[in-house]
């Protein structure tokens, strides 16, 4: 007996029912799991909208939840749904008493297991299958009860997706550089205070925007150092950038202005009335030139009746001859550099540039920016000079027609000169600032370089010494005197002391002193105006500190003690002095200069403000430092000394 095929066309209805059953199971799985997934999706979406979940995890979560019904549906589809199940459904629906299922099972029997009865059962099943069984009727599509819930949740999810909640999202925290670097640059507070004072003075004097901007940068730089926000490398980089910007803004600007002023001064030399103006212009003194021009304008206003010859003479004197030339060379450089940079950019777009090429491009772009900035400044300066020339030319023409008009033109020209003067002042401020930057660089280099700690310690000792505080022993004196110099003092020290006193106002003084480790020293005693002046040297080895001051203040008594290592007797405070001639000794430390001291002494210390006394000293000291007459290792001591004794904002006047 030959077994018929398991699935004959007669039983295809069971196969169709099987597919329908699988589809229904898959759909049920999708809808049922979709309800729960949509519920979770709504919750997740709400959390996302409220910002409770970060974006990236939220996307992953939403994706998984959205995919989960599909995955479960796929699993339900692939789940084994036997043909027997489908046939049983058909049998049950049509009341076939398992005829189809039995036929399918008997078909699977081996030949030797077949009997006429099994074959008859198969034939019976096939006959029933041919009776037009409808799988759709046997397996009607039944939406699971979760369908409505799933639809509702889907609508809710769509609504939640569309609605934007006004929730303040937590942005990622800004990365703020740490306030304290690992190896911050540290400058002494006193040094910083000195530089701040300088910066404030420069700020007051700065008139041009460039100067004000540069001073502002300098102050911010000091603030960063003070807050220890810069390490050594950053500090030097900032300093170098600041210096570069100042150099770029300074280059040739001054000469441009002076050249413009000289160009209009030649004709003025011929006339007596304009000769002073001409001199000022030739010397590049814009302030004086403006003053002379305003005086000339005032003179023209007052001389309403001026003969024509005089008018023509003045007109010729005011008429400028030379014209400022454009700097075509720099402009060509700028254009050429711009083309080169564009070519480099084009090459880098075509292929991946190397690191060296990128660095080169960056450097060229920086240089180009500086050149363009310089060109812009030159153009501005040239326009200003041309404006001055036009104003003077107009004034010369007006001189022949209307003196009032000519006077107004001269006033306008004076304004131009005043602006030039402001620029000049700004340039001077910039020059001053550059010097301060150099000093600051030197301070940074010394205090934070190799052996920086030792250097700082040395400078600290020096500072203490300059302030009158020694390392060994402590002596502190405080004296107050009013009127007749009444006061009291306390002193305690070891060895010989150095003293510094500051007095202020009407006989009130305060003295402070410490014993020093070394014999001898320099003592500054308060003068009449509270200004410390160098006092006589000398102190006893055992008595340091202050004694009641002189006639007006407390503090250390000048010459009250004597250093035995020095020649000569101690100063006699009773006024019975006598000159002692002391022969100089060859110390091998080089020449000394006493001109400033002498000139200052000639003018007298007591009746001049300390600031005016201090400045000549400090200027002379700078001159000496600049000329290289002080060994490099000691220059910092000189600068520091003058910083320490500088007139303070609150005390000096």
């Amino acid at each position: 007996m030959t077994a018929p095929p398991t699935h004959t066309p007669d039983l295809l209805v069971a196969r169709a029912a099987q597919r329908r059953l699988r589809a229904q199971r898959a759909a049920t799985a999708v809808i049922t799991s979709g309800l729960y997934a949509l519920t979770a999706l709504c919750a997740a979406m709400l959390l996302v909208k409220l910002g409770a979940i970060p974006d990236r995890p939220a996307r992953v979560l939403l994706g998984l939840l959205a995919l989960s019904p599909l995955m479960l549906g796929g699993a339900a589809w692939t789940r084994r749904t036997t043909l027997l199940d489908a046939a049983a459904r058909l049998d049950a629906h049509y009341g076939l008493h398992d005829r189809l299922a039995i036929a399918i099972q008997f078909r699977a029997l081996p030949d030797d297991a077949r009997t006429p009865w099994t074959d008859a059962a198969i034939a019976d099943g096939e006959a029933r299958a041919r009776e037009g069984l409808d799988p759709a009727a046997a397996l009607p599509w039944r939406w699971p009860w979760e369908s409505r819930g799933a639809l509702a949740m889907l609508a809710l999810f769509a609504g939640l997706s569309a609605v934007e909640f006004p929730v303040a999202r937590t942005l990622p925290a800004l990365v703020i550089p740490p306030t304290v670097r690992r190896d911050p640059l540290v400058l002494d507070d006193d040094d910083l205070a000195a530089f701040r004072d300088m910066a404030r003075a420069l700020e007051r004097d700065a008139r041009s925007p460039d100067a004000r901007r540069a001073v502002g940068e300098f102050q911010r730089f000091l603030d960063d150092i003070s807050a220890q926000r810069l390490d050594r490398e950053d500090a030097f980089r900032r300093l170098a950038a600041l210096q570069r910007s100042m150099e770029a803004s300074q280059r040739d600007e001054r000469s441009l202005n002076e050249r413009a002023m000289r160009s209009v001064s030649e004709a003025m030399q011929r006339d007596d009335a304009t000769r002073a103006l001409s001199d000022a212009l030739r010397q590049g003194d814009a302030a004086r030139a403006a003053q002379e021009l305003r005086a000339l304008a005032e003179q023209a206003r007052q001389q309403r009746q001026m003969d024509q010859a005089r008018r023509e003479q003045l007109a010729r004197a005011l008429q400028p001859r030379a014209q400022t030339a454009q700097d075509e060379s720099l402009r060509r450089q700028v254009e050429q550099a711009r083309r080169e940079i564009e070519q480099m950019l084009q090459r880098q777009r075509e292929r991946q540039p190397s690191r060296a090429e990128q660095d080169l491009l960056r450097r060229r772009q920086q240089a180009q920016a500086q050149r363009e900035q310089e060109l812009q400044r030159r153009d501005e300066s040239r326009r200003r000079a041309e404006h001055l020339q036009r104003e003077l030319s107009q004034a010369a023409q007006d001189m022949l027609r209307d003196l009032q008009q000519a006077a107004q033109g001269m006033d306008r020209a004076a304004e131009d000169l005043s602006r030039m003067n402001d620029e000049r002042q700004g340039q001077m401020s910039m020059q001053e600032l550059r010097q301060r930057l150099e000093e600051l660089r030197e301070q940074m280099r010394q205090q934070n370089g190799q052996n920086g700690q030792q250097q700082r310690n040395r400078l600290q000792r020096f500072s203490q010494n300059a302030n009158g505080r020694g390392q060994q022993g402590q002596g502190q004196g405080q004296g107050q005197g009013q009127g007749q110099g009444q006061g009291q003092g306390q002193g305690q020290g070891q060895g010989q002391g150095q003293g510094q006193g500051q007095g202020q106002g009407q006989g009130q003084g305060q003295g402070q002193g410490q014993g020093g480790g070394r014999p001898g020293g320099l003592a500054l005693v308060p003068g009449a105006g509270g200004i410390p002046i160098p006092a006589a040297q000398g102190a006893t080895p055992t008595q340091g500190g202050q004694q009641p001051g002189g006639s007006a203040a407390g503090g250390g008594g000048a010459g009250s003690e004597h250093d035995e290592n020095l020649r000569g007797s101690a100063a006699d405070l009773t006024g019975r002095t006598r000159a002692i001639a002391v022969a100089g000794q060859q110390t091998g430390n080089g020449p000394s200069r006493s001109q400033v001291i002498r000139s200052a002494a000639a003018d007298g210390f007591a009746n001049r403000p300390y600031r005016q006394v201090y400045s000549p000293y400090w200027d002379r000291a700078r001159e000496v430092l600049h000329q290289g007459e002080v060994p490099p290792g000691y220059r910092s001591y000189v600068r520091r000394y003058f910083q320490l004794i500088r007139p303070r904002e609150e005390t000096a006047n």
């Binding site: 027997l84 049983a88 008493h97 299922a101 039995i102 009865w117 099994t118 059962a121």
Partner: protein, 331 residues
């Protein structure tokens, strides 16, 4: 044999049974299911236990069946004083008429094709057990001599579920020998009218024998040829396994109220009954519906309820309904 032969055999089978049913219907009103159940037991070669209150026609049914089938019939009224000898027979001294005497075996009422054991639960267990060997082995052993019972041997026992005073419930082993346990229900109004019409008049109905002994034996062979698909057989097995409280198929009621489940003989009864039912309905193979229909009469007396089940008056049919329901939901 071709596919047409089973079809013809089935049709002949149906016509024979229809004749029997018709003859029975002349006397018995209604009780179609009981009649089919009794016939099923007869064709399966098993025995039937009828349970019902008195007066429902149980005895009449059995007697009529015996007449319709042209088989020998004996009725045994079980009483407490009945002894096994009364059922099986005894060797007695017999006068041979020539002055000689001999010992002969006098057959008891069990030697018949159809034996009605009326109110079987009223006899003592000893007497009940005398029936055990005859029901199972189809033979009787007396004085070391085995006497084979003539085929077909068919025991129909009845019992009254109400009068439990002075009764001896059948032991589980003996209950297991019964193929079916049929519960005879009270007839409905129409059936009562018909019963009254037939029994209160002068009309006497003579039942003809429509099915001979040989034919009955042939039908017995026929029904055993009915094929059963694996899924249908698996359903029968699961139905039996479901009655065991410690099986995975057990339902909550089974776990709670059943002490012992049906034996494998119960599965045999279910499947064989399903086959006969399929053929009775003109089908070639037994189906799941046949299994479900036969499970109740085949298994209800093979389950032993525990004390809690007995105390709460749980019926075996309720437990089986739950088991069959669970099988349906798992399909």
């Amino acid at each position: 044999m071709t596919a047409e032969i089973p079809r013809e055999a089935i049709e002949k089978f149906q016509s024979d049974l229809a004749a029997v049913r018709a003859e029975l219907a002349r006397v018995i009103v209604g009780q179609g299911e009981i009649v089919d159940g009794v016939l099923t037991c007869l064709l399966a070669g098993g025995h039937c236990l009828l349970e019902g209150v008195p007066g429902l026609g149980k005895t009449l049914l059995v007697r009529t069946l015996g007449q319709a089938l042209d088989l020998s019939f004996s009725r045994i009224q079980f009483t407490p004083d009945l002894i096994p000898v009364d059922i099986l027979g005894a060797q007695i001294l017999v006068d041979d008429g020539k002055g000689g005497k001999s010992i002969e075996f006098q057959r008891g009422p069990i030697f018949a094709n159809i034996v009605l054991a009326d109110e079987i639960n009223r006899a003592t267990p000893k007497t009940q057990s005398a029936l055990l060997e005859a029901m199972q082995e189809q033979s009787v052993t007396i004085a070391r001599t085995s006497h084979t019972l003539a085929a077909p041997f068919f025991v129909l026992a009845t019992q009254n579920p109400l009068e439990m005073e002075g009764t001896y419930p059948l032991p589980e082993a003996q209950l297991d020998r019964f193929f079916y346990k049929l519960q005879v229900g009270f007839p409905d109004r129409e059936a009562m009218h018909a019963i009254l019409d037939r029994t209160t008049g002068n009309e006497v109905v003579a039942v003809k024998a429509v099915l001979q002994r040989a034919r009955i034996l042939a039908l017995r062979e026929l029904v055993r040829q009915v094929p059963v698909a694996r899924s249908v057989q698996d359903l029968a097995i699961r139905a039996v396994m479901g009655t065991h409280p410690d099986s995975a198929e057990a339902t909550p009621k089974v776990k709670r109220f059943v002490r012992f489940g049906a034996s494998p003989r119960g599965a045999q009864a279910v499947l064989l009954g399903a086959k006969i039912r399929a053929v009775m309905q003109g089908r070639i193979a037994a189906s799941g519906d046949d299994v479900r229909a036969c499970a109740l009469p085949a298994l209800r007396h093979r389950m032993i309820l525990n004390f809690e089940g007995e105390a709460e008056g749980v019926r075996a049919d309720d437990v089986l309904d739950e088991v069959l329901g669970s099988l349906k939901s798992k399909d």
